[in-house]
C-alpha cells in the first residue's frame, strides 16, 4: 500500500529518502537551501514576538476599556481596539503564546504516540502490525477536522483538549510514515547485518533506524505544526479552544468577522494576518526541508 489517505498536508505525496544516509550538516543544508532560512527566520521572529509579548505589548491584552471600544487603528492603538476596548496589537502578540505552543504540543502528541505505534508495528510485524494498523486506519478513516471537533465537543472545550484532539488526529500520519520507513529499512543490508551480529531490537531501532527516520520526520513535523495551527485556529474560530478572555487568534477572527459589516475590519485583520504568517512559516519550512532532504528531487 503506497498511498495514504490525504491529510490537510499532502505530506505523503512523496515518500522520502531511503537507505543509509547521514543527516546533512546544518550549515551545508542552509547554505545550499536558502529557502529553509527564510522559513526559520519567519518562525523565529514570530517566536521572539510571542516570547517577549509581556514586555513589548503596548497594553494589557485582557484589560477591558469599555469607553474605547472598536477604535480604528491609530496612534494609541496601532491595530485598533476590539469590541471591549482591548488593544488588538497586544492581543495578537500574546496570541502567539497560545497558538505556537499548541502546535508543538499537538505535534508532540502525534509524533510520540504515532511514531511509537509505527515503529512497533513495523518492527514486530505479524498480528501486532495488523491490529495496530487497523486502529490507525480507523482513526484515519475519520476526516481529521471532523474528528478533532467531535473530540473537543466530547472532552469539553479547552486549550488542553484542543491540543489532545489535534494530537490524536495526527497519530496516523506518523504511524504510517514510521512504519513504512521501518519496514523498508528492516530489509536493507545494514539492518540485516546488525541483526545477524546479534544487536538488540532497541539498539537496531535506536542506532540504525532512528537516524534514517529523522529526515522524513523533520519534514512531517514542520508540516503538521502548520496543520496543528490551522486546526487550532479552526477550533477556536468555532469557540472550542481556550476560554475568553484569552487572546486566541482564531477566536479573535470569529469575533472580528461579525463586526466586518460595521466596517470594523481591523478586529479580524490583525489576528488573521498573524495566523496566516505562522502557518505559512511552517509550511514553507516543511516544503523547503523536503526539497532539501529528499534526494529524489535532485535529479
Amino acid at each position: 500500500m503506497s498511498t495514504a489517505a490525504p491529510t490537510f498536508i499532502p505530506a505523503e505525496e512523496q515518500i522520502p529518502a531511503l537507505g543509509e544516509q547521514q543527516p546533512a550538516g546544518l550549515r551545508r543544508l542552509l547554505l545550499d537551501h536558502p529557502r529553509i532560512l527564510v522559513g526559520l527566520l519567519l518562525l523565529a521572529i514570530l517566536a521572539v514576538v510571542a516570547l517577549l509579548a509581556p514586555w513589548i505589548s503596548p497594553h494589557n491584552p485582557i484589560a477591558v476599556d469599555a469607553d474605547n471600544a472598536r477604535l480604528p487603528p491609530g496612534a494609541g492603538h496601532l491595530l485598533g481596539t476590539d469590541e471591549l476596548g482591548r488593544d488588538v496589537l497586544s492581543r495578537v502578540f500574546w496570541g502567539g503564546r497560545i497558538s505556537l505552543p499548541v502546535a508543538f504540543v499537538a505535534v508532540g502528541v502525534g509524533l510520540v504516540a504515532g511514531g511509537l505505534t509505527g515503529v512497533l508495528a513495523g518492527y514486530r510485524g505479524g498480528v501486532t502490525d495488523l491490529l495496530l494498523m487497523r486502529l490507525v486506519d480507523a482513526i484515519l478513516a475519520f476526516p481529521a477536522l471532523i474528528l478533532a471537533i467531535a473530540l473537543v465537543a466530547a472532552l469539553g472545550p479547552s486549550l488542553r483538549n484542543a491540543m489532545i484532539a489535534i494530537g490524536i488526529v495526527q497519530i496516523p500520519v506518523y504511524a504510517r510514515l514510521t512504519r513504512a520507513q521501518v519496514l523498508q529499512l528492516k530489509s536493507l543490508d545494514f539492518v540485516t547485518a546488525a541483526r545477524a551480529l546479534g544487536a538488540s531490537p532497541a539498539r537496531i531501532i535506536g542506532r540504525h533506524m532512528l537516524p534514517n527516520l529523522l529526515n522524513p520526520l523533520i519534514v512531517q513535523v514542520s508540516l503538521s505544526a502548520a496543520f496543528g495551527m490551522l486546526a487550532e485556529a479552526t477550533l477556536s474560530f468555532l469557540g472550542l479552544s481556550a476560554p475568553p478572555p484569552t487572546p486566541d487568534w482564531g477566536f479573535m477572527i470569529s469575533t472580528g468577522q461579525s463586526f466586518l459589516v460595521n466596517g470594523d475590519w481591523w478586529m479580524a485583520a490583525g489576528p488573521g494576518a498573524a495566523i496566516c504568517l505562522a502557518v505559512f512559516g511552517f509550511n514553507w519550512l516543511g516544503d523547503s526541508l523536503r526539497d532539501a532532504l529528499d534526494p529524489r528531487l535532485h535529479r
Binding site: M1, S2, T3, A5, P6, F8, I9, P10, E13, Q14, R134, L135, D137, A138, I139, A141, F142, P143, A144, L145, I146, L147, I149, A150, L151, A153, A154, G156, A226, L230, A233, T234, F237, L238, G250, I253, S254, Q257, L260, V261, G263, W265, A268, G272, I275, C276, V279, F280, F282, N283, W284, D287, L297, R299
Partner: protein, 314 residues
C-alpha cells in the same frame, strides 16, 4: 490483483467496525443531555426521563451499542432528536448543497492547479516557478475561514457585487444560485487549488525526467507538443488519485466554509448537530464521512494499481 482487492475489502471490515464503535463512543461520552435541547424552556425532569427512555439512553452502554449496530445494518440511522426526521433524510436533504459546493470548489481548484502546476514544472527554478511555489505554500496556509472573510469583505461589503451568504436552490433560480456559490466555492477550493498545483508540478517534473520524454525532446518535438501529447496525461494520473481522495474528504472543508457562508449543506448540519447534541445526526454524518473516506481510499488505491503497473501489491 483480485486477491489484493479481496484482502483490502477484508481489512475494511474490522476498520469499519472500529469506526462504528468510535462514532458511538464519541457521541455517548459527550457530556450534555439531548433532552435539554428537545425540551428547551419546557424542561421538566419527568419529560426528560421520558425522552431518555424513548431514545434508549437509560440502558447500559453495550446494549445501546448493540441496538445501534443492529439498526445500522438495516440502514436505519435513527431519527434526529431536534426535528424527528430520519437521519438519512436529514442528511439527504442537505447533501445536494454540499455536493454542488464540492464540485464547484473542485472545478475551481483544478482550473487553477493544472495550468499553473504545469507551467511551474516547465519553468522549474525560474521566477514563475518560485512565485508559483510561494503561492502554493500561501494557499495551503490561509485558513479557509480567513479566505471566506476576505472574500466577504471585498466582494460582499466593499464592491457589493456578491451576496454575503445564504443559498437558493438551483431549481428556484440558477443565476441566484450561482452568485451565492462563487465565494464559498473559492474559499473551499483554495486549499485544494494550492495542493493540487504542487502535486501537478512535482508529478509533471517527474514525468518530464522520464526517458521517453527526453527522447521525444531529443527528436525535436516542441515543449508544448511534448506536454500536451505525452507528459500531461501521465503526470495527471497521480493527480487524479489525489483528487479522488479530496472528493472522499469533501465534508472536511465544507464544515467551516458552509458555516461562514450560511450554506445549508451537510457540513453546516454537522456543526449545528454537534452543538445541539443531536446524537443520531452527528453519528450519521461522521459515519458517512468516515465510510466514504475509506471507500475513496480503496478506490484510489485500486485505480492507482491499475494505472501504474510499477506498483505491486502483496
Amino acid at each position: 490483483m483480485l486477491e489484493y482487492i479481496v484482502r483490502r475489502l477484508g481489512l475494511m471490515v474490522p476498520t469499519a467496525f472500529l469506526v462504528t464503535v468510535g462514532v458511538f463512543l464519541l457521541i455517548h461520552l459527550t457530556p450534555g443531555d439531548p433532552a435539554t435541547v428537545i425540551l428547551a424552556e419546557s424542561y421538566t425532569p419527568e419529560a426528560a426521563a421520558q425522552i431518555h427512555k424513548d431514545l434508549g439512553l437509560d440502558r447500559p452502554l453495550p446494549q445501546q451499542y448493540a441496538l445501534y449496530l443492529g439498526r445500522l445494518l438495516h440502514g436505519d440511522l435513527g431519527r434526529s432528536v431536534r426535528n424527528k426526521l430520519p437521519v438519512t433524510q436529514a442528511i439527504g436533504e442537505r447533501f445536494p448543497a454540499t455536493l454542488e459546493l464540492g464540485i464547484a470548489a473542485l472545478l475551481w481548484s483544478l482550473l487553477i492547479a493544472i495550468p499553473m502546476g504545469t507551467l511551474a514544472a516547465l519553468r522549474r527554478g525560474r521566477v514563475l516557478d518560485v512565485v508559483a511555489s510561494g503561492l502554493t505554500v500561501a494557499g495551503i496556509s490561509v485558513p479557509n475561514f480567513v479566505v471566506g472573510i476576505m472574500l466577504i469583505l471585498f466582494f460582499g461589503l466593499v464592491l457589493r457585487v456578491l451576496p454575503v451568504g445564504g443559498f437558493t436552490a438551483l431549481t428556484e433560480s440558477v443565476p441566484d444560485n450561482l452568485s451565492r456559490l462563487v465565494m464559498p466555492a473559492i474559499a473551499l477550493g483554495t486549499f485544494g487549488a494550492a495542493s493540487n498545483m504542487r502535486f501537478t508540478r512535482s508529478s509533471m517534473i517527474e514525468v518530464l525526467n522520464q526517458d521517453y520524454i527526453r527522447t521525444a525532446r531529443a527528436k525535436g518535438a516542441g515543449w508544448w507538443r511534448v506536454v500536451n501529447r505525452h507528459a500531461l496525461k501521465n503526470a495527471l494520473i497521480p493527480v487524479v488519485t489525489i483528487v479522488g481522495l479530496q472528493v472522499g474528504g469533501i465534508l472536511e472543508g465544507a464544515l467551516v466554509t458552509e458555516t461562514v457562508f450560511s450554506w445549508p449543506g451537510v457540513g453546516k448540519l454537522a456543526v449545528e448537530s454537534i452543538f445541539a447534541k443531536d446524537f443520531p445526526v452527528v453519528q450519521g454524518i461522521v459515519l458517512m464521512a468516515a465510510l466514504s473516506f475509506m471507500l475513496a481510499n480503496l478506490l484510489v488505491d485500486l485505480v492507482y494499481a491499475w494505472l501504474d503497473p510499477r506498483i505491486s501489491y502483496s
